[in-house]
Amino acid sequence: MSWKYFELLALGAGVTAIISALAIVFGLAIAVPIAAASLARNRLLHRLGRSYISFFRGVPLLVQLMLLYYLLPGISINLPNTATAVVGLALCTAAYQAENLRGGFLNVAPGLVEAARMVGLGDRQILLHIRLPIAFRLVLPAIVNEAILILKSSSLVSVVGVSELTRMAQNLSTSTFKPLDMYTMAGLLYLLLNWSIAAGGLGLERALHWGRR
């Protein structure tokens, strides 16, 4: 396989990496208020949070991307294709990440919260120093898992006109008549990207090794 093709696939991998990284970061940022809302005692907030999750988890990502792409121009919002891709991926992954966060929060042992209250910590202190750090450590593997899933799902964004890694491999395999070479290379590049996410996640876990010796 010539160097030129490898360069183009690497370019596609770069697009995949940037779009996925933005989607993961924005997705997590959106997930925090959604998780908080779905945990809230206020009925309206709770319903809003649950509706968000049930919609974005219930509709296939491909359909969501199509809706964004074809609906938004109708209401005079004409996002560039890459922005449409990032927004679509972020909104979808936020629903899963919100559920991850909610699960982590619910799994903080009640005994710890009670003990904190016994020693005189206030609600705010309990949230910041007990519940959030423990919840975060509990959900880290699940968050990394979802980040890997969304990187792979980013192969769908070619439907909104973004030439990411999979699309690049498709285009090249039609013009070179060498699909096996192109898809093997694309697969290896995906593997490489996901290894870096996984390694980052493990590194973070080690850095936050509270209570693990």
Binding site: K4, G74, G161, S163, F177
Partner: protein, 277 residues
């Protein structure tokens, strides 16, 4: 739960209605004026349709690229390409994501009800591509009793079906894209691929050891044109593009490009002819 679902459904439905109602208002501007003001003409296409649009050694090339460069010169604007899977291309045109679709697409009755075609730029009559050295297929009717592939949702597929109905036992296989069909033909899984003559002539010329064209074409006479919107806002733009294309036909620029990409020059009319199907 039921309330949430119905509320959500109503909300989504409302959004769609709103989008539909607003889309008319949002685009109520003259398309040619808009294109000239922006200084660029956005063209949607799929870069997997050699020799019209494809990636060669990493660059987007093909007849379309050459033709639109000239159209850009005539209109005084830059050409901006967008590559999408074919099934996303025409809906993208409807959603206003680009001004025109390159493709090109075969001019058919059904498509003319929804879209406005430019004047024809190439012959699109359907023919069969076979494996080089396959002596069992000498003329189109020899495909009786054999497996033949064509692109899903393509007008070539419709033509192949209509033609196969006049023969015995043609096993028709649908493919998501033509390249998969060519790959299956090269691998011997099928005996032929039906596609328009310019496309298969190009494929056979690229890989003469693997593929050959079965002469003559079997389909009804048809043409390729570029696809634009039919509404009044786009009339001026489509008229200007037609004018540029006719000018290119008369001064020999289009013929030179056809010679370059197909190895032959097609005789195409200056107006959109009434389609045969």
């Amino acid at each position: 739960m039921k309330n949430i679902v119905s509320g959500l459904a109503a909300g989504l439905f409302g959004l769609m209605l709103g989008a539909g109602a607003l889309s008319g208002a949002a685009n109520a501007e003259d398309a040619l004026a808009k294109v000239k003001a922006a200084g660029e003409l956005k063209v949607g296409t799929e870069t997997q349709f050699a020799p019209f649009d494809f990636i060669d050694a990493g660059d987007h090339v093909g007849l379309n690229v050459d033709v639109f460069n000239e159209i850009g010169k005539e209109l005084g604007v830059k050409i901006v390409w967008e590559d999408l899977p074919w099934e996303s291309v025409l809906p993208g045109l409807d959603a206003g994501k680009f001004d025109i679709v390159a493709g090109p697409a075969t001019i058919t009755k059904a498509r003319m009800e929804h879209y406005r075609f430019t004047v024809p730029i190439a012959d699109a009559t359907c023919a069969i591509l076979k494996a080089a050295g396959d002596n069992s297929v000498q003329k189109p009717e020899d495909i009786a009793g054999k497996a033949i592939g064509a692109g899903k949702a393509s007008s070539q597929m419709d033509q192949l079906k209509a033609y196969a109905a006049t023969l015995k036992n043609v096993d028709i296989r649908e493919y998501v894209d033509n390249s998969t069909a060519y790959a299956d033909l090269a691998a011997g899984r099928i005996a032929g691929v039906a596609n328009s003559l310019p496309n298969i002539a190009y494929v056979a010329a690229q890989r003469p050891d693997t593929f050959a064209v079965v002469e003559p074409p079997f389909g009804q006479k048809s043409y390729f044109g570029y696809v634009g919107r039919k509404d009044d806002d786009h009339k001026s733009l489509m008229d200007a593009i037609d004018q540029a294309l006719v000018k290119m036909k008369h001064d020999g620029r289009l013929a030179a490009m056809e010679k370059k990409w197909f190895g032959l020059v097609f005789d195409t009319p200056d107006t959109v002819p009434a389609p045969n199907f």
